[in-house]
């Protein structure tokens, strides 16, 4: 069962906007879309000056947990000093920052160790903020009905929803306790006028995480290929995912898969905030669709 709670307090609040790496440096269109939909959602985005990589769970958490925690804590402290909860658009960043935040809040020894490191830079982790993913905020604080009421241009198309692993798991560190068969994102996609279509192995990983894309590209792309094949067979018009790294894997990955395996899919890939932006009536260039590797024209022509 999914736990869906009602919004507490006003929705209008400032967030510390955590960009990460993949979104500002490879898919800035996703950053653009978020900045452009924020006013309609009454969300104020404040830049986190000097934030770094989250750091990436694949390499850093795998290599040295202490360094992973310390660098994550530095990012968390930037948001603490702003007095804002963090908002992230990438499930990898969400995983790192959310888990580091929870670990440091719960474990005084780890907190002490990290604060010893941060002391030199006049920084201290206090544990005063929350880390939130945009999909979690929209699902829990807004909900599909509120989103439905905001739609200006319904999106009549068949969407293959891909949640991305780190939005859901490990569920002990997630607000939405639905690690196996979630519905909340499908509901938010359908609220925009689209149909979320079922497809085989829908909740399978995209293959990019854990450092696998970095060091074993063939294995990583083979996983993406399997998902793309299943999505194609189900007749999807596009993929909608709330993770920057999954967007990269499915979009840029389709070109690599074509070159390596000789299979072509041509399925447009949108981040959920871009899809939402279109439904809110923003033109395609305001939600940053112009630089995807796979043309998003088929999506735009259906609106």
């Amino acid at each position: 069962m999914e736990i869906v709670r009602k919004a507490e307090g006003p929705l209008t609040k400032p967030y510390a906007f955590f960009l990460g790496c993949m979104i500002p440096n490879r898919y800035p269109g996703i950053e653009l879309a978020m900045r452009n939909i924020a006013p309609a959602l009454d969300i104020e985005l404040r830049d986190m000056e000097g934030a770094s990589c989250c750091p990436a769970p694949g390499v850093f958490k795998s290599f040295d947990k202490t360094t992973w925690l310390a660098l994550a804590a530095r990012n968390l402290v930037i948001a603490e000093s702003m007095g804002c909860d963090i908002l992230t658009l990438c499930s990898g960043c969400y995983g790192t920052l959310k888990e580091a935040n929870e670990i440091l809040k719960a474990d005084p020894d780890q907190k002490e160790k990290v604060n010893q490191i941060l002391k030199e830079f006049e920084k201290e982790f206090h544990g005063t903020i929350q880390v939130r993913h945009v999909a979690e905020v929209l699902a829990l604080d807004y909900g599909p009905e509120k989103l439905r009421s905001m739609v200006k241009k319904p999106l009549p198309m068949k969407a293959a929803v891909h949640y991305g692993c780190h939005l859901l798991r490990p569920s002990k560190y997630r607000e939405i306790k639905s690690p196996e068969r979630p519905r909340f994102l499908d509901d938010m996609v359908e609220a925009l006028g689209a149909k979320s279509i079922p497809y085989r192995d829908k909740n399978m990983c995209c293959g990019a995480g854990g450092g696998v894309r970095t060091a074993s590209l063939d294995v990583s792309l083979d996983m993406a290929r399997e998902k793309l094949q299943n999505i194609k067979e189900a007749g999807a018009d596009l993929i909608v995912t709330p993770c920057g790294f999954c967007v990269f894997q499915f979009d840029r990955g389709q070109i690599e898969i074509r070159d390596k395996f000789g299979v072509e899919f041509n399925i447009p890939v949108l981040h959920y905030v871009q899809f939402l932006g279109l439904a809110l009536g923003l033109p395609p260039d305001k939600v940053g669709l112009q630089n995807n590797a796979v043309s998003t024209e088929p999506v735009i022509s259906k609106i």
Binding site: P24, M48, E49, G50, A51, V59, S62, K65, H166, S216
Partner: protein, 178 residues
């Protein structure tokens, strides 16, 4: 091609303290494993590779330290956490894999491509730093040319670098400061 003959384990080559070492590195619940194989059955990477979570845990519990740490397959887990959600004993297999990876890196076993990503963060603050093409894309979209991150702030980057020096991460991954 001839099959590699399977060598029996030699007791004096086992490191009995290895499971404990893994536990201390973050895989606290490794000893709860009953070898049911739910992890391997759930693994999207294991479907197409020789990566076997159950087997790695078994070997670690027996004390086959070096073979486990040196095996490149250790790096085929995408950390999708499906096994962690499904393990009937609550072993948290993904955390065990990450703990074994931490231990492997400490003993010098790491892949070059991962080392390069680690170095990238020490150089730029980002695992994936901005490039020329995306500077142009950002400007064309009406965004700032570089994001307001370590890319914009040399002091912030310095902090990131100093933290990695303090934790010894730079030496761990043989990073060369320039």
């Amino acid at each position: 091609m001839a099959e590699t003959p399977k060598k029996p384990l030699k007791l004096d080559e086992l490191d009995k303290g290895f499971a404990e070492e893994v536990a201390k590195a973050g895989g606290e619940k490794i000893n709860l494993c009953i070898q049911c194989g739910t992890c391997t059955a759930s693994c999207p990477s294991g479907r197409r590779t020789a990566f076997r979570t159950r087997q790695i845990i078994r070997k670690a519990m027996l004390g086959c330290k070096e073979p486990v740490l040196a095996d490149k397959d250790l790096w085929l887990c995408t950390t999708c956490y499906t096994c962690l959600e499904r393990c009937p004993r609550g072993v948290d297999p993904t955390d065990v894999i990450l703990a074994i990876r931490n231990t492997a890196v400490k003993s010098g076993h790491m892949l070059d491509r991962h080392r390069q990503v680690a170095s990238m963060v020490m150089k730029s603050g980002h695992a994936v730093p901005i490039d020329e093409a995306n500077r142009k894309t950002r400007v064309a979209m009406g965004l700032n040319e570089v994001p307001p991150t370590t890319h914009k702030s040399p002091e912030a980057l310095k902090e990131v670098q100093e933290i990695t020096k303090k934790t010894g991460f730079d030496k761990l991954v043989h990073h060369e400061w320039k």
